[in-house]
């Protein structure tokens, strides 16, 4: 009597993201059962949730997209550095030539926004941007629904 898998496409990015994200939230809540609501704790929890959302989104997309690969690599690096006790966010970006008709500053702005966009050419960058926008929309929808359900 498990009705849930029948209801949705099991392999869609949305489903996988929701499963992964809820699992991550579960583990987060289990690790900290006693939750005093001081702002520091909330801030830390917020960061953890953001990390969990990013990681579950990227792992739901898989490694066939450049931006998800970049996100996963970044998270892995951060985790490895956090294990050692120092967190240093170092972004190494290299810029390839901007395309015709597109301003260099704007292309750079887009490169900074899309994860892993520093090492793409323009064609690839536009492609990844489209996919990234789709995934961000999905993420926002799912998270908003979770918030709504929790608040009711």
């Amino acid at each position: 009597m498990t009705p849930q898998p029948l209801l949705m496409k099991p392999n869609s990015i949305k489903t996988r993201f929701a499963y992964g994200f809820l699992r991550a939230l579960n583990s987060l809540n289990k690790n900290k059962p006693s939750s005093p609501s001081s702002p520091k704790v909330i801030f830390r929890r917020c960061r953890m949730i953001k990390l969990a959302a990013d990681a579950s989104m990227a792992s739901a997309v898989g490694s066939r997209r450049a931006w998800s690969r970049a996100v996963l690599c970044k998270i892995r690096c951060q985790r490895a550095l956090a294990m050692r006790g120092r967190i240093r966010s170092g972004g190494f970006r290299r810029r390839s030539g901007a395309g015709k008709g597109f301003g260099v500053g704007q292309t750079d702005g887009l490169r900074k926004l899309v994860p892993g966009g520093g090492a793409m050419d323009l064609c690839c960058l536009l492609d990844e941007t489209a996919h990234y926008i789709k995934c961000l929309t999905t993420q926002v929808q799912v998270m908003r629904n979770i918030v709504d359900i929790c608040s009711t």
């Binding site: 009705p3 849930q4 209801l7 949305k14 949730i49 301003g103 064609c123 979770i146």
Partner: protein
């Protein structure tokens, strides 16, 4: 066939009839169509033409040296090596010329004939370059084919021997080159055109494909980003995309904050229920605009998932309360307001409502 001719030529090459035979060979080669039925034949044809031309125009020793220089330049252009040459300036100039031609052709593909005319006008200045290109071609093909290697070796031998025999001065380079172009002007121009068109077409195809890709993805992004269709300029469109991505990221941050605060308030024991519950709800609740009750939110996605065709009908049915069993279920569920029981009941509701909807 051509190889046989070449070997005959190498056997004859000491005789004084070299020039005449060469002319005959060139004419015979030229009489063949430049693009044969099979690609091998056409390749051989072009190769032979280049071969003959390299022989004819590389008589002067100064031209040979220049050919060497330009050959390295063209190999650099083709293989895109990053080795720095001392003659990089001239190479850059030629590259600029070529790219200018390429842009013109990329913009108008119909102006091939115009470009051909331009090539024939610039033919005298580009002869050495094209010949070096053909030399390069012959060398490249010789790496692949032993026979061709033989012929290229033959050409080098011939070049050296002929240069030894004639021993021209630097002063006569112009005149000799002009002679060569005069005697075989048509064949040379044809070879330039053939090689040039192939090269230019290749580059044009690359540029064209890239532009097509970029414009296609730009259109896709325009469809994806709301309010981006009205903007015509690429810069404004990119600005809009950047703003949209930033706003999405900000929305994610806001949801993070909400979620962290909510999860701080919610008991950790609820989470399994959430895990069962939300996964079914999260996907379809985004399409439903009924934040009135938990039960309505539950019932609606079930309809949406199972009867996508009857989506509107089911929504209206839920709103007006037409379906009697559904109403009963809703009443049972909507009685408890506290969250854990609704969570548990929601899964029960889903299990109950599935056979009902399937029967429908």
């Amino acid at each position: 066939m051509f190889r046989l001719q070449n070997k005959n030529y190498t056997s004859i090459k000491d005789s004084p009839e070299v020039e005449a035979f060469e002319g005959n060979e060139l004419n015979s080669v030229f009489s063949l169509p430049p693009q044969g039925s099979s690609p091998e034949i056409s390749g051989l044809n072009g190769f032979e033409m280049n071969y003959g031309l390299s022989r004819t125009t590389s008589y002067p020793a100064a031209a040979i040296s220049e050919v060497a220089v330009t050959a390295t330049a063209v190999t650099e252009a083709k293989q895109r090596d990053s080795s720095v040459l001392p003659e990089k300036m001239s190479f850059k100039e030629r590259k600029a010329d070529k790219s200018h031609n390429l842009k013109a052709v990329a913009e108008e593909e119909d102006c091939k004939e115009k470009r051909i005319r331009g090539c024939t006008e610039q033919g005298e200045s580009k002869i050495t370059e094209q010949n070096s290109n053909s030399d390069n071609d012959s060398k490249n093909t010789s790496n692949n084919n032993n026979n061709k290697r033989e012929t290229s070796a033959d050409t080098s031998k011939e070049n050296s021997k002929v240069s030894e025999v004639q021993k021209p001065d630097y002063i006569h380079v112009r005149a000799r080159r002009g002679q060569a172009t005069d005697s075989h002007s048509l064949a040379e121009r044809i070879s330039i055109v053939v090689d040039g068109t192939k090269f230019v077409q290749y580059i044009c195809e690359i540029v064209h494909v890239r532009r097509e890709k970029i414009s296609e993805r730009t259109k896709y992004l325009q469809d994806l980003v709301p309010g981006c269709n009205k903007i015509t300029g690429k810069a404004g469109m990119l600005d809009e995309i950047i703003n949209y991505v930033q706003s999405l990221q900000r929305q994610v941050e806001v949801e993070n904050i909400f979620l962290s605060m909510k999860l701080a308030a919610v008991n950790p024991t609820l989470d399994f229920n959430i895990d069962n519950f939300v996964v079914t709800e999260v996907f379809s609740a985004c399409t439903s605009n009924f934040p009135i009750e938990v039960s309505s939110e539950i019932a609606n996605p079930a309809y949406l998932q199972f009867n996508p065709l009857q989506q509107v009908v089911s929504c209206s049915g839920l709103e007006m309360g037409i379906n009697a069993p559904d109403m009963a279920l809703r009443r049972t569920i909507s009685a408890p307001v506290s969250s854990p029981e609704t969570f548990l009941d929601s899964s029960c509701f889903n299990t109950v409502s599935i056979p009902y909807l399937n029967n429908q």
